[in-house]
């Protein structure tokens, strides 16, 4: 059964028609990636799912229920977490406070909360070392870890990752992608938006290619990686 489904979604920024009938399906347990160049509408798609934007047309379904008219704070409660583009951690709050805010919808005295926190600290040992530090003082890679960790603290069944590799050194990019795979292996479904198509296709099960607000290709990640136009346009191969 599909966990998350977008059906013919049209989203606008004012008069700008950003998504022109996007349909995406994410099944439970998958890593699905959405690749495309700058301005193709990747982030818009994620923001439409998480409720920060409302589609003018079309439906977003989660576990078969419509969520496209719900405010973001209710959508989080259903089990959809977003690690936003540009990380967007709270710079003047400590690492621990950032993570606590991730768990805002949960009881922070429960054993589940402690288990979640331990899980995040195990995935990102750097955050454990720096938990008293202000978010704004972390390096780019650490901030990305914090953004993903914070999203995991909401205890999601699907996590939306928006360009986790942006602005990071290659070593860190690999580390982040390893962790994304590990998160998936622990049972969380992943919808990954990336410009780094090479890395994204390497870890995803299925892929969609987005171009100027429309899905132009969808297939297994392997097949997409072998597609000629994708190789030319996104993988830099001739």
């Amino acid at each position: 059964m599909s966990l998350l489904e977008l059906q013919n979604v049209h989203t606008y920024y004012g008069n700008i028609h950003a998504l022109k009938g996007v349909s995406i399906t994410v099944n439970e347990g998958e890593v699905v990636t959405l690749i495309g160049s700058n301005g193709a509408g990747k982030s818009t798609t994620l923001r439409t799912i998480s409720g920060l934007l409302r589609p003018r047309l079309g439906e977003v379904l989660f576990k078969g229920k419509r969520i496209d008219r719900m405010p973001p704070h209710d959508i989080v409660q259903l089990g959809i977490a977003q690690s936003p583009e540009g990380r967007r951690i709270f710079p003047r709050l400590t690492v621990l406070e950032n993570l606590e805010l991730g768990a805002y919808i949960h009881n922070s005295n429960s054993p589940e909360y402690r288990r979640d926190l331990e899980r995040v600290f195990d995935l990102f040992p750097r955050l454990r070392e720096r938990y008293t530090q202000k978010g704004g003082t972390l390096s780019g890679g650490e901030q990305q870890m914090l953004a993903i960790g914070r999203a995991l603290m909401t205890r999601p069944s699907v996590i939306l990752l928006d360009e986790p590799s942006m602005g990071l050194a290659p070593v860190l990019v690999e580390q982040i992608f390893d962790i994304v795979q590990e998160i998936n292996a622990q049972g969380t479904t992943v919808l990954l938006v990336e410009q780094n198509a090479h890395m994204a296709l390497a870890i995803a099960h299925r892929a969609y290619v987005l171009q100027t607000g429309m899905i132009v290709l969808e297939n297994t990640a392997e097949a997409v990686a072998k597609d000629e136009t994708v190789q030319k346009a996104y993988l830099g191969l001739d």
């Binding site: 989080v76 709270f90 709050l93 805010l101 922070s108 402690r114 938990y131 909401t154």
Partner: protein, 393 residues
């Protein structure tokens, strides 16, 4: 080894030490204390130096002695003014923190608090029980009452006049706040003039105790100097401190406080954490309004005569205090209020003394306050404790 570090992290990661807690609640107060002492010492030194330099320019009095005699009283006055501005400034800065606009109706929220205590006093008086009412109880009830009325009023104003405009340009919102300010002034004027309160309302209170002598300083040239604080000023300062402690607890320690700080830093991302942003904004207005209302009550009790326009000038000065401390920064607002209060009180008291009455100091206090606003905006727009605005990458 691994298990040991893990266990350490669990306790460190999930439990806050008592020390951290105390630091979060009292840290900002300690900072206020530093600024109180700093302002008193610096301004005190300046006036004493000035008195030395100008010694002999006045034949009628001994300038140095005069300066020293009134100094303790000026400091008490500074504290009262400082806490007044600090409490009102918090409302400006908290709203600015979450919505990034200046709520110019906040001075009127403060004024409503003063009218609440006037009304409460009048009611008790007409019931014939005011005289026998315990003073402390009167203060506590009226502060709570004023905080509740002003807090709810602030939330209603936000709901009616600001929320529908949230996505409009900031200028539109600003005009709406000024409009609300006028509406509230005239609303209170209508209510006051059509009730026994009257336009110039008197704040009736039970006996709040007499002045307290804090210390007696020896004065080689004449009578000993008594450092006196009147009961109403004492109440003002103590009640302010209690409320600032409460605010620090709310903002720095509780779950909703964390949500408030998150909303102030990044509204969309806060909503992704499951925070209902509208509720938190309403809560911000409630808390800011309640503090303003409580300050209004204490102000009313102290000055004992109010009218519907008493909120305007303190409101504007508290806004100056908020900018002075760094707009959007809660500790900054408190510190800015204190510093402004000290500067104003010193100018009000010493200017006429030093200029042989050529400048009637009290009238120049306002000029001092707003000159500070201009100087800050030119030279240090981020304020004393504010962070310079950095472009986000």
């Amino acid at each position: 080894m691994a298990t040991q570090s893990e266990a350490g992290a669990i306790s460190a990661g999930t439990r806050r030490t008592t020390r951290m807690l105390l630091n979060q609640i009292f840290g900002p107060l300690l900072q206020i204390l530093y600024f109180v002492i700093g302002s008193a010492v610096i301004l005190g030194t300046i006036v004493i130096l000035l008195a030395f330099l100008l010694q002999g320019t006045r034949s009628d009095i001994n300038l140095l002695q005069g300066t020293l005699i009134i100094l303790p009283q000026v400091i008490v006055d500074s504290l009262v003014r400082g806490f007044l501005y600090a409490m009102i400034a918090l409302g400006y800065t908290m709203v600015y923190g979450v919505l990034e606009f200046i709520n110019f109706a906040h001075g009127e929220i403060f004024m409503v608090g003063a009218f609440v205590v006037a009304g409460f006093g009048l009611m008790l008086n007409s019931a014939g029980i005011l005289g026998d009412f315990p003073g402390i109880l009167f203060v506590i009830i009226s502060v709570l009452l004023g905080a509740a009325v002003s807090g709810i009023l602030a939330v209603s104003v936000e709901r009616v006049a600001y929320r529908p405009l949230r996505n409009s340009p900031k200028l539109v919102l600003l005009i709406s706040t000024i409009g609300m300010s006028l509406v509230l002034q005239d609303l209170v004027r209508i209510i006051a003039t059509s009730t026994p309160l009257g336009f110039n309302a008197r704040v009736l209170t039970p006996d709040l105790g007499s002045a307290i002598r804090l210390a007696t300083l020896p004065n080689p040239g004449g009578n000993d100097i008594n450092v006196i604080i009147d009961a109403r000023s004492m109440i003002f300062i103590l009640a302010s401190i209690v409320m600032l402690i409460f605010l620090n607890y709310l903002v720095n320690v509780t779950r909703v406080g964390k949500a408030m700080r998150a909303v102030a830093q990044d509204r969309p991302t806060a909503s992704l954490m499951g925070i209902n942003v509208n509720n938190i904004i309403a809560l911000t207005f409630l808390v800011g309004g309640a503090l303003g209302g409580a300050a209004g009550v204490l102000f009313g009790i102290r000055v004992q005569a109010i009218n519907p326009y008493v909120g305007f000038l303190p409101g504007l000065k508290a806004f100056t205090a908020a900018v002075l401390g760094g707009i959007g920064n809660i500790t900054g607002a408190m510190v800015g209020g204190i510093v402004l209060g000290f500067l104003e009180a010193f100018v009000a008291s010493y200017l006429s003394l030093f200029t042989a009455g050529a400048f009637a100091g009290a009238n120049y206090a306002d000029i001092a306050a707003f000159s500070i606003l201009i100087i800050i905006l030119i030279f240090k727009p981020e304020g004393l404790l504010g962070e310079a605005t950095v472009q986000k990458v």
